[in-house]
Every structure is written in C-alpha cells, then in structure tokens.
Symmetry: C3
Subunit: 340 residues, 3 copies
Amino acid sequence: MIDPRFFTNVGPFTLGEIAERLGGTLSDGAPRDLMVTDLAMLDDARETEIAMFGDRRYRAAFANTKAGVVVTNRELAANPIGGDTHLIIVEKPRNALAEIAWLFYPKTEEALGFDDEGRAAALANGARVADTARVGRNTSIGARTVIGAGAVIGHGVIIGEDCVIGPSSTVGFAILGNRVQIYTNAVVGAQGFGFVPVAQGLRRVPQLGRTLIGDDVEIGANSAVDRGTIGDTIIGPGCAIDNLVQIGHNVRMGRSSIVCGQAGISGSVEIGNGVIIGGAGRVADHVKVGDGAQLGGGGGAIQDIEPGAIMAGLPAIPIRDWHRQSIGLARMFNRVKKKD
Amino acid sequence: MIDPRFFTNVGPFTLGEIAERLGGTLSDGAPRDLMVTDLAMLDDARETEIAMFGDRRYRAAFANTKAGVVVTNRELAANPIGGDTHLIIVEKPRNALAEIAWLFYPKTEEALGFDDEGRAAALANGARVADTARVGRNTSIGARTVIGAGAVIGHGVIIGEDCVIGPSSTVGFAILGNRVQIYTNAVVGAQGFGFVPVAQGLRRVPQLGRTLIGDDVEIGANSAVDRGTIGDTIIGPGCAIDNLVQIGHNVRMGRSSIVCGQAGISGSVEIGNGVIIGGAGRVADHVKVGDGAQLGGGGGAIQDIEPGAIMAGLPAIPIRDWHRQSIGLARMFNRVKKKD
Amino acid sequence: MIDPRFFTNVGPFTLGEIAERLGGTLSDGAPRDLMVTDLAMLDDARETEIAMFGDRRYRAAFANTKAGVVVTNRELAANPIGGDTHLIIVEKPRNALAEIAWLFYPKTEEALGFDDEGRAAALANGARVADTARVGRNTSIGARTVIGAGAVIGHGVIIGEDCVIGPSSTVGFAILGNRVQIYTNAVVGAQGFGFVPVAQGLRRVPQLGRTLIGDDVEIGANSAVDRGTIGDTIIGPGCAIDNLVQIGHNVRMGRSSIVCGQAGISGSVEIGNGVIIGGAGRVADHVKVGDGAQLGGGGGAIQDIEPGAIMAGLPAIPIRDWHRQSIGLARMFNRVKKKD
C-alpha cells in the first residue's frame, strides 16, 4: 500500500480495467470485476492489491505473496505461487508496473515549497523555522527542531525532536526520527531514477515510496537520498552519511553504518550494521553488504560482501588480494621497480 | 555569434586593436581597420567574426571556416584554409581567445536572482512560481510550468510548457523544451571550468555559450550542467540524467540517453542516442560515444566508444575483456581462489 | 585556540575536571587545579591549552608542543616530549578529544540563516545582497561583493571585495579574500565528517575549525569545502575548484592548483602549488601532493605524490606505468587485440 500521507490514489479500478490498460492476459478464473485498490510490493501486498513479479530473484516473495493480483510474464508465471492470487500476464512486467502506477497515481506533487501551512503547527510545537523556509501542509515537526533558511519540507513529512534541517535542503515523502541532522543542500526523498524502455525512448516509473530515517542520522551537504519506488528507502539509526553521497531508491541501511564522501549506493542495496563505505566507493544495485564489512575508497562492489570482509578495487575483491595484484602488476610491467 | 539574450557585447573592435591587445602578428594583407563584431566557433563564425584554431583536431573546421579572422599559432597556421580569412598569429591561441572574450564581454552576469521582473509574465502565461523563487527579466515561461521555492531563473531564459523546476535549483543562459524536469538543487547553465595558464597562475576563460535542453529531459537532484564556452551544451530530447551528475561545457547528447548517478561527462564530449553511462562512469573530454553504447558503473572512457559497444573499467575496455582481466588477475595473484 | 568569532567557549575547566570527565590518568606531578582555557592542535597550542596526540605521524609535533596539557595513550606517551607539558593518559585519545571538544563547545551553531543582522553593514560597505539571501551578525562583506538569492552567510564570516557568492550557496565559519567566486549551491565551511566509534555506535567529533580562502579562488556549483576540525581548511590564492568537488576538513592547498569536477580531497591532505587533480580523482586522507604534480581523472592517490609527478590509476602509480599495465594486461588476457 502506498502511503496516503504523501500520494493521492485515484483508484480503485477493476481487474478487467487494469488488464485491458496493460494489454495483458488474465489467468484462468480471474474475476474481471475484482476491485483492485492499490499497488504494493510482493511481500507487502494485501488481497485487494496488485504487485509485480519481474525478476527471478524475487520468486520466494512470489511464492508467499498475499497480493490479490500479480502482474508477471509467461515465463515467470511458471514459478510456484500459493493462495488465491490472480495473474495478469504481460510481456514486460516492469513496464506494466509503471503503467499501473500512473493509473492509480497520475499526479505526484514533488516537494516544491508552494505551501507553508505547516509553519504555525511547527512553531507551536517548539520548532524554529527560518522565514525563507517552507513547511508544507499536514506535517509534524518536533520540539527544538531547527529548519534553516530556504529549506523546503514537503507535505505530510514527519520530523522528530532536536533535528537540524540545513539551509536550502529539501525533505519530502519522508519520516525522520529524533536528533537527525540534514546538512546544507541535501535532498531527502528525491524522486529515484526509474525508467523503462519503450518504443519512443524512456518511460518514467513513478516513485511512490517513502524515505525513513532513524534517530541520530547525519546526512552531509549536497547529498541525495531517493525515496523508494514502492516501499521505502530506510536509513537506520546512527548512520553517518558524508557530503555528495547518493543513496538510491529502496536502499536499506542498518545501524551506525558510515558512507564517506561521494560514495554511491545504488537502488535496492542492503547494507548491514557498522558497515563502512569509503570515499567514492560504489555499491551496485541489489548488492548486499554484511554487518561490519568495509569497502575501500574508490572501490566498486558488484557482488555481495560477506559480513566483516574488507574489500577494495573495481570490481571489489578482498583488500589483501587487491594489494597483491597491485604489487604483482608493478613487478610485471613497470620499468622502475620500487623497493617496497 | 554569442547570444545577445544572455551576454552583452561591448564591441565591435578593429582587427588592429585586437591584434595589438593580443600582442599578435597579422597575416599578410590583413586590413587593420576591419571591424570585428563578435567571436564565434570556427564552424559557426561569419565574415565579421573572429574564431580560434588551437588544436589539430579541428583542422577540417579551419579549412572550411567562414570566419573573417582566425587567431592561431605559427605551426597550425600552415594548415590549409579557404576563402578570405585573415589570421592573427600568437603563441598561445587558447590564451588569446580568453583575452578576446574578455574584450568583447568584460562582464558576465551570473544567474544571481536579484531580478524578479519575469514573474508577472510567467504567471500571466499560466505558470506557477513560488514566492521565494526569482524569475529574471526577459524570460519566457510556458503554461503549467511550476517553479519551486528558492529556484532562480536567470535573465533571458526560455522554459517550455509543463516543466518542473525544483526548489533551490538555478537555470541560467538556457533554453528548455516542454515537460522538462529539473530537480532540487540542480544547476543548469553553470559557468564551465575553463582556465588558461598564465605567468601568475590561472586566467579565467569567460563562458559565453548556452545550455539547450530538449523536450522530456530530466535532470536529477544536485546535478550540474555547464553552459558552453562558445557554442552550446546540448541535452537531446528524452535524456534522463540522475542525481549528482556533472555535464561539462559543450557536451552534446542525443536522444533518450541515460546518465546514472554521480557520472561525469567532461567538456566537448559527444554522446549519441540511447546511450547508457553507468553510475560514477566518466567520459574524458572530446570523447565520442556512439549510439546505443554503454559504459559500466565506475568505468572511465578516454577513447571513443563505438556504437553499441559495452565497455567497463578504467581505462574503459570491452566489458568481456574487463571480466577476463579480472578473472585472470585473480588466478595469477590471489592466494584463495574462488571456484567461479 | 578556537576562533571566538565562530565558536563560543564555555570554559575554562581545571585539569582535574577534564581528567575525570575523560576517565584518564594524570602524569606525575600534574596540578589538578591548572586552569585549561581551550583546546588546540599540538603545534598551535599554548601553555593553558590542551592538545591531543593520537597518531605516531605527529610525534615531531608532540616533541615540540607548547601545550600545557596533552591527552594521549600509554604507548604514545613514551615518545619524547619537551618542556612543561602535562599528560592525561587515556585508552582512546581521539575519543577523548571529542569529549573535550563537547565540554568546551557544547553547542555549535551551524550557518542556518536565521539571522540577517549583517545585511545593513554589507550594503553600507557597497555590497549587493539579494532579498532572499541572509547575512549573519558580526560579518564583514567587502565592496562590490554580490550575494545571490537564497545564499546564507553565517555569523562572523569575513568576505573580501569583488566576490560573487552564488545563489543558494552557504558560507560559514570562513574568511574569504578578494575576487573569490563561490558558485550556485556550493557549501563553504560545512561540518566535516568526524566520528569516533563508541560502544553504542558513532560519536560526533565537533568541528571547531575554520575555512580560509585566498584571493581569486573559484569554487564550483554543488561543491563542498569542510571547515577544519581544529585548525583550518586552507585554499590558497588562485586555486580553481570545479563542480561537485568535495574538500575535507583540514585540507591545505597552495597557490593556483586545479581540482576538476567530482574530485575528492580527503581530510588533512596537503596539496602544493600548481597541482592538477583530474576529474573524479581522489586523494586519501593525510596524503601530500607535491608542487606541480598531476593526478589523472579517476585516479586514487593513497601515498604521497612527488613534486612534478604525473600519476594515474587506483592506486595511483606513474602514468607511464599505468599505460604499460593497461597494454600489458590487454596482451595477456584479451581475445581480440587491437593493433595500436
């Protein structure tokens, strides 16, 4: 279910309407007049909701989904599925999901700062709000939280106590804990980078998820944390994110992990507790980084990292191997060899 | 010719004045009293304009230029040139161009937001403009375009219909199509990074070009697209640019190409249609990337990429070779060898 | 000594109070009632001040310090020290320094733009200030300096003449020379990324230094320059810093050095004069880069770079060796070999 605090659902639609819109085929016995109320992820979806299964990696979620309807392709539909779920078979499930999202949510209002209806409540709550900041409607801002000049708080946002929202930063589609620090020009809840290829070029995938930020998190200057596509981007309590960092949609970070300057965490990455991502380190989409693991500066992880492992290089390998390769290559190819 | 919408030309100057200012030597028969009206690129320049030839790569443009005057050095002057072009011979043509630019355009007014004269016309046109945004004089903003809090639209800018200009973003020296989305804190039309070395250090090269953005382009949060030095930076229709991306001066991108988060496209790069540049991928200056080519995340292209090629690594090589190297190196140097 | 322009010291405290707060052991004969007035770096500290010695690399500074008190661990305390310095022995000196910083400076007021008390003086001085900009109290802004829309100048900041402070940029805890250009959305004086590990996760290290920027410096759009932790981040005159660059705390750059787009300079790096750091180049913390050295685009320096050296790759090696490795690897592993 998409959070109605942030997004306005123009549904429901019948299963028949949806299948027609997608040009899809219904599975046997699917009732065309079933009311579909919303979209959701496979593992969150309820009986009146529609989810998408477009990648084998998620076949366990497909097997256990409670979704009333799942859109998938013919090949993936052969995977086991339990319960009363009906299927819509299409050629390109990801494209179909984008169309379903546009159907239910034709208009997303980005955090644009037209609305300052939340200022009075924030002040009454004991927050401070600079005069050039804008606090949207239906927000909740905790006591002693400070919102700097030019900051924009989008509608529905919840911010805890003792937070600092830096000048010219923007927070939208987000729920923040206590003592969170968002520095200058940071963007929390930006629209993630989601497109599907279509005949004419690229089709936007609406981004209907949220950003959830735990207590005591810091997010550095000029960094960006995208909100989830469906479901949430989650930054666990005590995480420290440096300047110019990019955190993609649906990333999940545990507790007290560190992301150094200019690092990039791609979409759907899972980062454990106490992880350190070095400066300009990159983690490719869907990669899992185990508790206490480290990725050296400039390294690029394209496969999962075991808990406690220390990795470096592009592609990232164990740091000892990386050093061994560097030394070995120097011996093989370099004219002047250094003694150490 | 430099666009007078954005830049104020204090010329013309005579050829004699210019040669003297540069400490340059005129080619035989060059008329010192020729009125030079403006500067331009070799392939755009007209008979009353001056251009610069400072790099062998542009000798075809030199051979075909219609410029009335070209500033170059003795060595490059030996290249064939057609027509009635006069030459000014200097030691350092790039430095000379900077001086010519300063001569004609001593003062560039960056998009600073002092001026809100364009607001009334924008509103009359059916645009929405947040109260803390600033819309400069002589702008044109299309119907239903939304300009968020704290955004700054520089003088002369043209923005089409149904665009979204995010909070705290800045658009200057630019012409945007319809349905363009500029996200939070993005900077379109920033001054490119141009300097020439001089005895005392570095001398700024004025940036007198524009940024042209096609229909349906998206530019992500905290990204920067520099305007051209002379001539334009061009983002073709349907391109999608993610967060924290840098696009240098005079880059030209075709249709529906994708630039993922934190990637960097250096000055004068040419990117075709349907290209994908992965996260944190880099393309070095003047490199050409063919239609449908891909550069893997973190890769760095320092040579042209053929259409359809899939490249990875630094320097970028075909991705299969890159995988082969990674595996080969692991076999050679690593103590613990993985099975796959 | 911490600059009282920017930070408010709630001390002094006695040596006994401090040792107790840290759970530390005093060296023999240390007077518990000694008044400690402030904290400082080893090489700057005066007789009433406390400094920290936590890394062997700084043993020369320890030997020569004039600090009245130094906090260190048992092992490092064995290094030679001259004069009348008393020691507090703790397990983790860096953690102890954080606690001392919190003790003297319990509250840092970030540059948040609540305060516009400096506007009148700036205007009287001949500066221009956009209406949505904010200029804090006790600032000094030079003649003809222009402060764009939405910019925030923090309390105590000094800016010279003929500077341009771009829209939505923030300058705090900083002293700028003349003709400095800070572009759109840049952040000067951001809080550096300093944490120490504690049992419950991460503990913030207060950032109590400044950013000093010389004449004729340019800082590009969406870049961030952190202030010092204790002591200063220094950008020498004539340096040119491109877009989306990160400069860490306590970095020191000489004259006329260039940092290209998306490069990252980690904490405490020293960069000489006339250095060029290529696009997306990285310099690891505490590395020294000699005069006239160059680091190729995407390269990562993890060791000092000699003056005049030209380096590339990750880890950075001499560029000729890097080319040799690239060619050698292609010969060894790639199926299709290119002729050149």
